[in-house]
């Protein structure tokens, strides 16, 4: 019996043939879709209770309902505003410090040790201190995002400025550029690719910190939505918010990519677009 089956498998091979089908073997979407299907099946059969994890179909319905009611867009906007405020502060601070440290020995001596010390303290560990200092309103949330995103921008800009081809700087100097015009025409554009690496990293960090910061008694925002859902055991709303966080991360990355494509058009691309 077992021999006969083995024979049939080796001669007919229905499964390997299906997997060898070239389009199916490269279908990266297949496993996530299978997982979703299993999840949905588990929920419908009662294997996964609603209070543990809502079914994908329920999540989709909730997503739609929250969007139509305006609850999700309104809270999303509050979260985005927090991230934007924190990032803006970080940009101003990090670019100022990065340029000061990158352009002068004195600046490096004064600023870089402080930034390196700051780097060794996990930003999220500052949360309790910020709550003591700034209370539980908007300020600690924005400050937390600003503090956490300053370092990646600073570090990459500093490295970018220091990594400029000195031969280009020398050529520009021989053509009479100096001071601010040298910074504007040569040093800033040369440091821009590194700056974008830092910015992309900072955007990712800002979403991460947003999640934690919004656990601090938020009256609005995605974190507020999640906290409420937790209190009412609405796992569907929690999953919707998780999805939105993921989309925020993707959106941030797409934003920087677009900026890079415009600002760095001069770069010969290693991989054809």
């Amino acid at each position: 019996m077992s021999l006969a089956i083995a024979d049939r498998i080796s001669s007919a091979r229905p499964w390997p043939n299906l997997l060898r089908w070239p389009r199916l073997s490269r279908a990266r979407w297949l496993s996530p879709v299978l997982l979703l299907a299993l999840w949905e099946l588990g929920s419908r059969l009662g294997v996964i209770p609603e209070r543990v994890l809502a079914a994908p179909s329920t999540v989709a319905e909730t997503f739609w309902a929250l969007t139509v009611s305006g609850e999700l867009p309104a809270n999303l906007l509050v979260s985005l505003a927090r991230a934007a405020a924190g990032l803006s502060i970080a940009l101003v601070v990090a670019v100022t410090l990065g340029l000061a440290a990158g352009l002068s020995r004195l600046g490096e001596t004064a600023i870089d040790p402080l930034m390196q010390i700051k780097r060794t303290i996990p930003s999220l560990a500052l949360t309790p201190l910020f709550i003591v200092w700034f209370g539980i309103g908007e300020t600690p949330k924005i400050v937390l995002i600003a503090v956490a995103t300053t370092f990646p921008i600073y570090l990459n800009l500093f490295a970018g400025v220091r990594g400029i081809d000195v031969r280009l700087v020398e050529a520009a100097r021989s053509f009479g550029l100096s001071g601010w015009s040298l910074v504007r025409e040569v040093i800033l554009p040369g440091a821009l690719p590194s700056f974008f690496v830092g910015l992309r990293y900072a955007l990712g960090v800002s979403v991460l910190v947003l999640v934690v910061a919004e656990q601090i008694n938020a009256q609005a925002g995605l974190g507020h939505l999640i906290n409420n859902a937790r209190d009412f055991m609405r796992t569907d709303i929690i999953v919707v918010c998780l999805l939105v966080y993921a989309l925020l991360g993707l959106g941030a990355d797409a934003l920087v990519r677009t900026l890079e494509r415009r600002a760095l058009a001069w770069r010969p691309s290693l991989v054809e677009q």
Partner: protein, 270 residues
């Protein structure tokens, strides 16, 4: 950024021109010394270049060629030594050193502030035969095109002194020949004083009015070239070549051997 203190001709009206020279020289260094630690790279060098004169500077590696060029370009501090150069100088480096984030015409216009910059850059690029690459990115240029752009960038400033730092060394032999012609034409047109730093003896002889040999930070030999341009590798050319190679410490080939050498050889004297 340390700005070198170089006395520019424009602000130099007080000091009298040397009585012996009929025309005030464009470049004048007297007993110039440049020292890095205990190492005297330039050691009491006297140099004078007349306006519109084409001077080639030969020398082995480490003879101080680059240091001298950087001094004249205003890239190195000169202290309180007496260095006279024209107020407008421009350098063409061995690598074109174009800013990759600026389009070709903006590279040519680098640092120019007055109006009509684009038109001037355009004219300069047309002069070097690159009128069709105005809006190209530097990374898309060939080596020869990049070097011609660098030439246009130098000439658009109408420099009183054009400094060429081995500008043809990285080019292939054919492109190098074309660049020689181009540089001679541009020099005839604009008449800047030129200092060409090169390793290539043939290049120096076929281009320059005067060839200097730099050794241990001093001018070790000088050769005036009075041959008609364009210069063919005839016997007079070969004689100059032998003498210069001798100054550079290279054994000169016998005349019949030299005649076999195709012109230009592009031979590098290391």
């Amino acid at each position: 950024m340390v700005q070198p203190r170089i006395r520019s001709r424009a602000f130099d009206a007080v000091s009298p021109a040397p009585a012996t020279a009929p025309v005030a020289p464009a470049v004048k260094l007297t007993g110039f010394v440049r020292q890095f630690g205990a190492n005297r790279v330039i050691d009491g060098l006297d140099l004078s270049i007349a306006p519109g004169e084409f001077v080639a500077l030969l020398g082995a590696s480490g003879s101080g060629k680059t240091t001298l060029l950087r001094t004249l370009a205003g890239l190195d501090p000169v202290g309180d030594q007496d260095v006279t150069t024209p107020s407008t100088r421009a350098v063409v480096f061995q690598d074109a050193r174009l800013l990759p984030w600026k389009k070709v015409w903006r590279n040519v216009a680098l640092g120019l502030k007055d109006k009509g910059v684009r038109a001037r850059a355009e004219a300069a690029l047309k002069e070097v035969g690159l009128g069709h690459r105005l809006d190209a990115w530097p990374s898309t240029l060939s080596g020869g095109e990049a070097q011609r752009t660098a030439l246009a960038r130098a000439l658009v400033r109408e420099p009183g002194l054009l400094l060429l730092d081995e500008p043809f060394a990285a080019l292939d032999a054919l492109t190098r020949l074309k660049m020689h012609d181009l540089v001679l034409n541009l020099w005839n047109e604009h008449r800047p004083a030129v200092l060409l730093v090169t390793h290539d003896v043939d290049e120096a002889i076929s281009l320059a009015d005067r060839v200097l040999v730099l050794n241990k930070g001093r001018i070790a030999a000088e050769e005036k070239i009075t041959l008609e341009r364009p210069r063919a590798p005839d016997t007079r050319f070969q004689a100059i070549r032998r003498r210069l190679l001798g100054h550079l410490g290279v054994e000169a080939p016998a005349p019949h051997e030299a005649a076999l050498v195709a012109f230009p050889t592009g031979e590098a004297v290391q």
